[in-house]
C-alpha cells in the first residue's frame, strides 16, 4: 500500500506554514502601514509629491517591497489552495502553477521597479 492517500503530494505542511507566516507578517506590516499613513502623515499619501517624499526613507522602500512580495506569495498560495479544492487534473494544475509563478514573479519585479523608480525621483 502506498503511504500517502493520493499518488502525489500537491500541498503539505510546508506550504501551509509559509501561508501562515506570510499572513502573520502581512498583518504586522499592515498595522504599521495604517499607523504611518493615517497618523504620521495625516490625510494619507494623496499627492504625487507626498508619495515621492515618503519613499525617500530607505526603510519604507524595503518595507513596501517586502510587503508586496509577502502579499503575492500569500494570495497566490491561497488561490492555488482554492484551485486544489476543485480537484484539478495534473495538466490543469501544472498550467496553473506556471501561470501563478510567472504572474507572481512579474508582479514582484514590477513592484520593486516601481518602488525604486519613485524613490529615485526625490
Amino acid at each position: 500500500m502506498r503511504e500517502s492517500l493520493s499518488p502525489k503530494r500537491l500541498e503539505g505542511s510546508g506550504r501551509w506554514l509559509l501561508k501562515i507566516l506570510t499572513g502573520l507578517l502581512i498583518v504586522i506590516f499592515l498595522g504599521i502601514h495604517f499607523v504611518v499613513n493615517h497618523l504620521v502623515a495625516p490625510g494619507g499619501l494623496l499627492t504625487y509629491a507626498d508619495v515621492v517624499a515618503y519613499f525617500q526613507n530607505p526603510i519604507i522602500v524595503v518595507m513596501e517591497i517586502s510587503f508586496l512580495i509577502l502579499v503575492v506569495i500569500h494570495s497566490f498560495l491561497g488561490l492555488r489552495s482554492i484551485l486544489l479544492d476543485l480537484n484539478p487534473s495534473p495538466t490543469v494544475l501544472r498550467m496553473a502553477n506556471f501561470v501563478l509563478v510567472v504572474i507572481g514573479t512579474a508582479a514582484a519585479i514590477y513592484g520593486t521597479w516601481l518602488a525604486l523608480t519613485i524613490a529615485s525621483r526625490g
Binding site: 500500500m1 503511504e3 500517502s4 492517500l5 493520493s6 503530494r9 500537491l10 500541498e11 503539505g12 505542511s13 510546508g14 506550504r15 501551509w16 506554514l17 489552495s81 486544489l84 479544492d85 476543485l86 480537484n87
Partner: protein, 253 residues
Amino acid sequence: MTNQPWQVQIKIQRQRAGEKPYVQAFALEVDPDEYVLDAVERIWAFHDRTLTYRHACHHSTCGACGMRVNGREKLTCITTIRSVTQNGGTIRIDPLRNFPVVSDLVVDMGDFFLRMNKSDFNSVAPDNAARLPYEHPKKLETQTEGEPERLVDCIECGLCISACPAANTDKEYVGPAVLAAIHLMYTQNPSQKLINQADDHSGLWRCHSAYECTEVCPSGVDPAWRIMDMRKTVFKDRVKSIIKPRLPEKKDA
C-alpha cells in the same frame, strides 16, 4: 401512544440513480416522541414499498441511517420528530450530501469505508485511547482484568463528510472522519505512515476550518479538533525531522 398524536407532512427526495430527483410528500400521524427513522419506516411499510433507505440497529451504533432532516445532517434513529417540527408541520428528508445517490435516501459510501480501512482504523481501542485527549478520564465502575477496551466513538455514519464544504467539490478529499481516524490511530501507535497520510493535499490541508464536522457528528468524535491536533502533530514531526534527520524508513512489516 402516550402523547396526543401529531399530524405531520413528510417530504422525501426520491431518486433512482442517474435519474432526476423529485420530492414526494406523505401525510402521517405520528407520536412526537417517535424518531424520524420510525416515520420513514412507517412510510415504507404502509404507503410506498419502493422507498429505499438504510437502517439497522435503531440505537445510534451502526451509523447506517444518516440523512438530512430539514437540510441538516442527522442520525435519524435518535432524532425525535419533536425536535425537528411541530404539530401540523413538515419534515423535509434528503439523502446525505457529498456521496453519490444510489436510490432515494441510500448513498454510496464505499469510497469512505475504503479510506477508513487505509488509515488502519480499528473500531476497538483501550478505554483510555478511545477517549478524546481533552476529556477527563472517567472512573470505570466495574473492575476488569487488564486494560478495559471499548468501541471507539466513530460509527462511520458519514454525516461529517456530508456537512463538509471542502468535500463538496473534491472527491479525493478523504474527509473529517478519516482524518479523525488517522489521529485516533496515531495517538495509540505513532507511525510515519500515518503522518504521511495526514500531511497530504487530499488530507489535512483540504480542511478550511468550517468546523461543520464537529457540528453534526452524532457521536462526540470532534473531528475538527482531531484534524487541528493532527496538524500540530505533523508540524512537530516535520520540525523534528529537520533538526534530526530521520534514517530511511524501514519497510512496513
